[in-house]
């Protein structure tokens, strides 16, 4: 069952994988307000790609169908799904 908690778990796990590659002191603080994209984000572009790949892959496992987080629909959102985890979660819930 895909709900807010499950999606948070999936996104947090993807961010933990990024943290696993980082030194102490450089790790991302992970909570629902964590900014994923933009000037204030703690992720670089390759980190964000890794997070998206992991989240899409986990959603495929959970839902049984593929979900694209970077298609036109995502780009057309008034509030970017990548602005923070809260908005990404809301976006995922809206498309699955």
């Amino acid at each position: 069952m895909l709900d807010t908690n499950k999606i948070h778990e999936i996104i947090f796990e993807a961010l933990e994988a990024v943290n696993a590659e980082r030194e102490e002191g450089e790790k991302i603080i992970i909570n629902s307000e964590t900014i994923l994209f933009g000037d204030e984000a703690s992720l670089d572009s390759l980190d964000l790609v890794s997070v998206l790949v992991d989240v899409e892959s986990a959603l495929l496992d959970v839902c049984g169908f593929s979900v694209s987080l970077t298609d036109d629909r995502a780009m057309d959102q008034e509030i970017s799904p990548f602005s923070n985890i809260h908005n990404m979660t809301k976006y995922i819930l809206s498309i699955v």
């Binding site: 390759l46 890794s50 892959s57 593929s66």
Partner: protein
Amino acid sequence: MIDRALYVGKIFVITGSRRGVGKLLTEHVLENQGFVIGFARGKSSIDHERYAHMSLDITDSVAVLRAFSQIAKTYKKIDVVINNAAVLTSQYAMIMSPQLAQAMINTNLFGGFLVAREGSKLMRKSKWGRIINISSMAVPLEPIGDSIYAACKVGLEKFSNILAKEIAPFNITCNTLGITAIKTDMLDQLPQDKIAKVISDLIVPRFATSDDIFNVFDFLISDRSSYITAQTIYLGGVHKN
């Protein structure tokens, strides 16, 4: 003495594994103790304990995604992806069927993108990988009739070079191997006088042998080739002006 155990523990995905160069490469990997997951539209033509066949159309993005999802669950990793599958219709552009041209673009370029894309995602996790895209002497030699085929291969080469930049941080290399004429089913479709002309234009004017291909193939996959990426290597001495 030739080492016949180059690929112990390595898992390959080879597209177009049923015949031609794809089959030769598959047999070479198996002979060297590797494990091959072969992609092809038709049924398997290889029966081996270290060969697993997946019947799928690489131009179908959902099918490719499902195949890699299954691979991830079953094998956990991929070490090498060989984008070999290709279709060739050689015809003057003015009378080339749009459907056949589209089929070449779909298989030779878009299919290669889909397979490399999903393969990269899996390789990313293990921080080691090799992607080899198979190109053709048609790119530098520009033979009449091969306009769309060569255009697809140019596209594949450029895709390969940029993908190489994107995946280098994961210790994955991506290179292109431009093969010359080798006696395969694909080559049999072409007029023999045309083939003779193409061969005579090579610096080394003969057909490629399977070992000519294996030599570069093994070189690109070697652990020692981690510093070789975004390169296109042509056989037979052909080169771009």
